[in-house]
Subunit: 239 residues, 2 copies
Amino acid sequence: MTARGTGLIVGPPSEAIEAKAPSLVEDAYRAMKTAVRDNVFPPGYQGSEQEIAIRLGMSRTPVHEALIRLQEEGLVRVLPKRGILVCALSPADMREIYDLIATLEGLAAELLAGDEALRRPALERLDAINVDMRTALDQDDLDAWAQADDRFHRELVERCGNSRLARAVHTVMDQSHRARMLTLRLRAKPVRSLKEHLAVTSAIRKGDAVKAGTLARAHRQHARDELMPLLETLGMRHL
Amino acid sequence: MTARGTGLIVGPPSEAIEAKAPSLVEDAYRAMKTAVRDNVFPPGYQGSEQEIAIRLGMSRTPVHEALIRLQEEGLVRVLPKRGILVCALSPADMREIYDLIATLEGLAAELLAGDEALRRPALERLDAINVDMRTALDQDDLDAWAQADDRFHRELVERCGNSRLARAVHTVMDQSHRARMLTLRLRAKPVRSLKEHLAVTSAIRKGDAVKAGTLARAHRQHARDELMPLLETLGMRHL
DNA sequence: ATTCGTGAGCTTGCATGGAAGACGGCATGC
DNA sequence: GCATGCCGTCTTCCATGCAAGCTCACGAAT
């Protein structure tokens, strides 16, 4: 219990834009997260730490530690003595996620609109992204659209000044990434998205926090209301 | 890559009310979390895994793994090759946390008010807690008041039906618990809290989702606006 | 035919040791 | 006096080994 030295009292990881030191744990973490996101490990997939360790060319230890982090983020479960399991999402889970994101992005937009210093650089980015999305739509390039959409929402939460909010949103978006990609091509041409993005951007520019928040939240709720019936219809129990 | 068997596709930890199996990692996790919450490990405290392992009577491994989880939750930082550090919170961090909680509890109240099946059992609890809080106030029992306050907010998010929301709120509330306890006795008698809790409860009972959400959010914002100047005044750089 | 017990082969939990990095004090050079 | 480079010590990182628990197939008993 010897608190050594009166070292600098460093804050939580919030602020620090620490470029994680390279380590096997970090490698394993990234590799497995990517594998889950890209459906290399499909939901319901069961594997063992040993198997993954061999594939990544390391021992079980770093894999095990990376799995703890992934479990904490809700992407996998480690079943004691039984192996690891990639989590599947039910429609109810998707609803939870959308409700959460809608509200949090609403707050993000609100914070952004209410802070002059914050919104100036953010708007620059958002405007550029909106242009890209318009281009993608004109060219019927769904992948480019999805990428622009992703970037828009990412910038929104990353630049709102609340790092914990950003982290929370990222966590649940990681969980739902797979499902999102899966349903991307099942929906009608997403023309409304651009309109709504522009409206949110505009409200932020005007500094109308309440309106920006309301619009951003409604935007996600629309997406939710479009997605949920689709999932139910397809009888998707899990994905 | 042999996905073994067509085993049951289990969902994310969301639903499962799994009573964590007893394990050294779990013990270490709880012990250290409690130690941080109760200021046994004050912010800025530096220690080593070895030291903690000895104190807990186990090897370094479970301590290390528990630390990974605590780091993921933002309570500590593991500095590579240097030791562990208990995170301190700045006023800016407290603001982040309150903004986040305000919004999330707003959503929780909204969800609760909008769902008949959910709100019935919840209201039973909330009513009881409100009675306890009234008693505590009448007796000037600050500790009892704090406990009732905590329970109220806990029930709110745990019974709203969105497990991810609950988890997110718990995570940031754990982070801010220390600061909250510290400032508990610096504030005026919290008579407004009860009134606001009653108002939120009433709105939920009426099924007025919008009002419930607005009130719950405003309640936390009031607390924030009361707390922030206090922190600044005391010149608290970190806590 | 069906049930139940048993054991082999998985799995992770945890302990431990060696390796490499980070820090701080001390000697050295100016 | 002051800066600088070196080295001992402390720390985590990672590999590995053993132990214990879980699953499932197989065989015996009913």
